[in-house]
């Protein structure tokens, strides 16, 4: 509870905070469209609007959770933030020693340097570890690339990292196929931490794992955060996992943020109908209230042809005429609580914790 | 569908232009030209040609022109069905090769039919009796067929047919029939000579097709709708013939385009070994004597044949498999 309050307090300090020391990164109007080619001449016939005008900032040492259905653009967001994809427009500022630098203006060498501070954990530990490399080679790779350590020193560094994620030195020479899913994800975490990054972007790090193993990994990430003072961007399509680890949570729909609030606030007092629907479907143990699951009508629209006005209007139970024509603004409805819904102030939506 | 065909056919025109240009460059590669090779022949038989004659010959055949001009002279006749003049045969290229193209196509076509007729039943059998003695035997034979070069098979047949069976295993007709007018007897004589080269040409492809058919059949048989069809109580024959085989045959059609160039290659070699008037013997001779329009046209025709067969295979595939859209 306390952490959440701190964040709210931060927000109350107002806009100046944004450039202060406490912000590690800031994303402004980030947009990514994938062109669709067709035919012999590979003409562009349209765009998959995977990411649309997304803005947020992340404070040092916090965990920002991002939830949304599969295909809503979560992975794209992370990859654009890592500059694995170039954005269509928008910028991302990263706090390097108190100076906010736009990562999209960096050259190759500067970018390589930046990547020491920003690392990523992938969803599928099967695909993210090269099956032909030993654990030593996998975790040691970033260290080698950046010329941090080699030979015996590399070995001892990797051993430390293994120890940190709960594996042991005897695993050094093994190949990924000798490990269980949870252990593989530990290896992936060790690799992400090898360069001592400040922020780790976690792209559904537990979604591919057994429910039982998910908790271990989440706990491990939390322990590491405390120990190393890490900042996380934690993505999931599962609200209950995000709730467990995040200080603030953002909800994504069809490439855009629709709501962003401190976790407790978001779960208790959602302001966007989509959040409400997601919450109603989340299996959180709630002995008091008999919740009714909200079934969203219709299908997820095609991201290459998103609906006009509020993108959610085709499935929203509260939609009115204005929703079809006008794009709702991204507004702060209460301190630290942002949403984009025309009816945010008037609707009274059900959260999960009352 | 029709517009798709038209589009594909129109798309072949630039392809043919590119291919014909490369063909021309390749055919022009050897140092010297037809006149040089004539000179060499004359010299070999003890004669000689003076420089003026040589130049006159060159000028007459247009061999003294720059390559691009010669190329243009060659292709400008294409729309009229004029593929240039064979210097060695002293006749239009088309007249020299028309009949041989016919035999080549006939042999290749029959070989394709043979491959399909043999490989489909064997493929079905092998898939339905996976790892049985018969399956293993066929797959071993398949390997064997895949590994024996076609010229070797032709040589073996030549020796075996002649020495052991005592039949002339080469040519298309028996010597006394070659010049005879067409009759039932001549036709039967042709059939007697035709089957062996057809089989020889088809062996390698048959081995490949059996493999593909077996694999695809196995895949189809494991699919849900086959189980469903069986569960509905349909007779096994119907399940296999009506559902499984129809689906399983698609990969066979999609490799049809790849089989054709192999057939052409094979018809050249088998034609050479078994003295069958395919384009093979003429092509070889035209290459050696640098009869460039003849050699070039044959190389071009084989490539165009490949283009056409790819198109036909695509159309056939689209026809049997409605999931494929015309884009």
């Amino acid at each position: 509870m306390c952490v959440a309050c701190c964040i709210i307090d931060d927000h109350e300090k107002g806009e100046t905070r944004m450039t202060g020391d406490n912000t590690i990164l800031e994303v402004k109007n980030l947009t990514k469209h994938f062109p669709i080619y067709r035919g012999f001449l590979r003409r562009i016939v349209g765009n998959v609007q995977a990411l649309n005008d997304v803005s947020f900032s992340v404070a040092k040492n916090e965990t920002l959770g991002i939830v949304g259905e599969s295909g809503c653009g979560k992975t794209t967001l992370i990859r654009v933030m890592m500059r694995a994809y170039e954005p269509t427009s928008g910028e991302m500022l990263f706090n390097q020693n108190g100076e906010m630098i736009n990562i999209y203006s960096l050259n190759k060498r500067e970018l390589k340097e930046l990547r020491r501070h920003m690392q990523i954990i992938f969803q599928d530990p099967l695909s993210s570890l090269n099956p032909r490399k030993t654990v030593l080679e996998i975790i040691g790779e970033p260290l080698l690339i950046h010329g941090v350590a080699r030979g015996q020193e590399l070995k001892s560094r990797v051993s430390e990292l293994l120890d940190m994620v709960g594996l042991s030195v005897k695993h050094l020479e093994r190949y990924p196929n000798a490990f269980s899913g949870g252990q593989r994800q530990r290896i992936a975490i060790a690799r992400a931490l090898a360069l001592q990054p400040q922020i780790v972007l976690c792209d559904e790090p537990v979604s591919a794992l057994d429910v039982s193993i998910q908790a271990q990994i989440v706990n491990l990430l939390q322990d590491l955060q405390k120990e190393l003072g890490l900042t996380y961007l934690f993505i999931s399509h599962d609200l209950s996992v995000v709730e467990h680890i995040s200080n603030r949570v953002a909800v994504m729909y069809l490439g855009s943020f629709v709501e962003l609030a401190p976790s407790a606030e978001l779960y208790r007092n959602p302001k966007h109908p989509y959040t409400e629907a997601l919450l109603s479907a989340t299996p959180i143990i709630d002995p008091d209230a008999r919740r009714k699951r909200i079934i969203l009508p219709g299908e997820l629209p095609d991201p290459s042809n998103p609906p006009s006005g509020c993108k959610f209007h085709t499935r929203c139970n509260y939609a009115e005429e204005v929703c079809r024509t006008t794009v709702p603004a991204w507004e702060e409805v209460s301190p630290g609580h942002w949403t984009s819904c025309h009816l945010a102030k008037t609707l009274s939506l059900r959260g999960v914790l009352k | 569908m029709l517009s798709y065909i038209v589009k594909r056919v129109l798309g072949m025109i630039p392809a043919i232009l590119i291919i014909s240009f490369i063909t021309f460059v390749v055919i022009q590669l050897p140092p010297g030209d037809f006149v040089t090779s004539v000179q060499a022949q004359v010299a070999a038989s003890g004669g000689g040609m003076d420089a003026a004659t040589v130049e006159a010959l060159r000028a007459r055949y247009g061999l003294d022109q720059p390559m691009i001009v010669q190329y243009w002279r060659w292709i400008r006749g294409f729309p009229k069905g004029d593929f240039g003049f064979s210097l060695e045969w002293n006749a239009p290229v088309w007249d020299v090769i028309a009949e041989r193209m016919g035999w080549t196509l006939l042999l290749s076509g029959l070989a394709l039919v043979f491959m399909w007729v043999v490989s489909i039943p064997i493929g079905i059998y092998s898939a339905r009796n996976q790892y049985s003695l018969g399956d293993n035997l066929f797959s071993f034979l398949g390997f064997l067929g895949l590994s024996i070069p076609d010229f070797m098979l032709a040589l073996i047949w030549l020796v075996f047919g002649t020495l052991v069976l005592g039949i002339p295993a080469y040519g298309l007709f028996s010597p006394e029939m070659v010049d005879a007018p067409w009759s039932m007897a001549k036709f039967l004589d042709l059939l007697k000579h035709l089957w062996a080269p057809v089989v020889i040409m088809g062996v390698i492809g048959t081995a490949e097709l059996i493999r593909i058919m077996r694999g695809s059949m196995l895949e189809v048989l494991n699919q849900q709708y086959i189980t469903t069809a069986r569960a509905k109580g349909l007779p096994e024959r119907t399940v296999i013939n009506k559902y499984a085989v129809r689906m399983a045959i698609n990969p066979l059609i999609s490799v049809l385009g790849m089989q054709v160039p192999k057939m052409i290659s094979s018809s050249i070699i088998v034609g050479l070994v078994l003295s069958i008037p395919t384009i093979g013997p003429v092509f070889l001779r035209s290459l050696i004597s640098q009869d460039m329009y003849l050699a070039g046209s044959i190389l071009l025709f084989t490539s165009v044949l490949l283009l056409i067969s790819n198109l036909l295979a695509d159309l056939a595939l689209a026809w049997v498999d409605p999931r494929i859209r015309y884009e």
Partner: protein
């Protein structure tokens, strides 16, 4: 609000506890699983591949035959009783001789001496073995001088006879021993495939990997190039290209040009295969992970892509050997490929091109048997390798 918050905390704690309990269970489960997977521990890809390959009996046989062929080719000059051009004019068109292993119950390999005569009608030479006159086969005999590996001068041959002739596969019209010539021919037939595959590999791997990895216009150009090459049927194109080789070129130059011509078409298949493989690999997260760790293209290509495609490269190379051997022998057989003094199996087969000669002396066909045998062996071996190559489905 506070009570709600408290409730929320409790719920969270509860979930946490459940999680932890579950996680302990899970850890022990994982341990058990690891126990059972012990065999897989610390096993590199190559060992897994080898283990799987060994189980495929017929592939192993294929591999052994391939090995044997290359060993014979390597020591060919020693194994062959005669040299390539040694003519025994008294024995032209001698049919293969029969070898007898026992004499008077004792192991004593020998052949019969031959009485030569001439058929009064066809005027062909006739050879009648004389059972009373045995010529013993001697091992490590002195014979025609040669250079082992093309370097070391030597005179000893594995076996031979001191008088008469030993000709296991018969002789040709000039009395040259086919057995010796086939062995010598293997040196060229088997290496031209290797060199051709190596060249195709070089072109195909570079273009295929680049095409798959960089995509975009690089891919477009490479794909169009492949389409153009593929729009010619191979044999006619090869024929046209080899026919262009000038008569006066040195044998070595001809040899290498032929390999270049063979790989001119061979690389396309390889490039397609590798491109597909790289396209699949490129989507793997571990490639992205390396990139995001700051790896350069070079690092990714050499540390990840090439090692990952290595087993496939080996399989693809093995499987393209047959077509190389086949193409070379077909072309040489037609008289368009290698020319004497270069002697490959295909060149040897040229004599069989004349129908009348072949029907009289069918053993001239024997080099073709070795073409088929080597192709068969490579096919079996390649098939086994292909099955073994994917111990992990990446």
């Amino acid at each position: 609000m506070m009570s709600g918050m408290k409730h929320y905390k409790e719920t969270a704690d509860y979930i946490n506890k459940m999680y932890n309990r579950q996680s302990q269970l899970d850890e022990s489960l994982a341990d058990q699983m690891r126990e059972s997977e012990k065999i897989a521990d610390a096993t590199s890809q190559w060992r897994l591949m080898w283990r799987k390959f060994k189980r495929n009996r017929i592939a192993v046989v294929g591999g052994i035959v391939v090995l044997l062929f290359y060993l014979v080719a390597l020591f060919g000059d020693f194994i062959a009783p005669y040299t390539l051009e040694q003519r025994m004019t008294r024995y032209s068109y001698l049919p293969p001789q029969r070898v007898y292993f026992f004499a008077g119950g004792r192991f004593q390999p020998h052949v019969y001496a031959l009485e030569t005569g001439r058929d009064p009608i066809t005027l062909q030479r006739t050879y009648v073995p004389n059972p009373d006159k045995r010529i013993p086969i001697r091992f490590f005999v002195e014979g025609a001088p040669y250079k082992l590996f093309g370097l070391i001068p030597a005179r000893r041959h594995l076996f031979g006879v001191e008088e008469g002739i030993i000709s296991l596969f018969g002789t040709d019209g000039q009395g040259r021993d086919m057995f010796s010539r086939i062995i010598k021919g293997s040196q060229i037939s088997l290496t031209i495939g290797l060199v051709g595959v190596a060249l195709s590999l070089l072109i195909g791997a570079v273009l295929g990997v680049a095409s798959g990895y960089y995509g975009g216009w690089v891919d477009n150009v490479v794909q169009r190039l492949i389409e153009i090459v593929r729009s010619f049927p191979p044999i006619p194109l090869w024929m046209a290209l080899t026919a262009a080789l000038p008569q006066h070129w040195s044998p070595l130059l001809i040899y290498f040009t032929i390999t270049v011509i063979l790989s001119l078409i061979g690389w396309t298949w390889l490039a397609r295969q590798l491109r597909g493989k790289v396209l699949a690999l490129r989507e793997e997260d571990f490639i992205m992970a390396a990139r995001l760790a700051g790896a350069s293209d070079r690092w990714i290509i050499f540390k990840h892509l090439i090692p990952a495609t290595f087993s496939h490269i080996i399989v693809i190379s093995t499987l393209s050997m047959p077509s190389m051997i086949l193409a070379e022998s077909s072309l040489s057989f037609l008289g368009l490929g290698l020319r004497p003094p270069l002697t490959s199996w295909g060149v040897l087969l040229q004599q069989a091109q004349n129908t009348q000669v072949l029907l009289l002396y069918p053993w001239l066909m024997l080099p073709g048997v070795f073409v088929a045998l080597s192709i068969l062996a490579f096919n079996f071996m390649g098939d086994g390798l292909r099955d073994a190559a994917d111990p992990y489905t990446v």
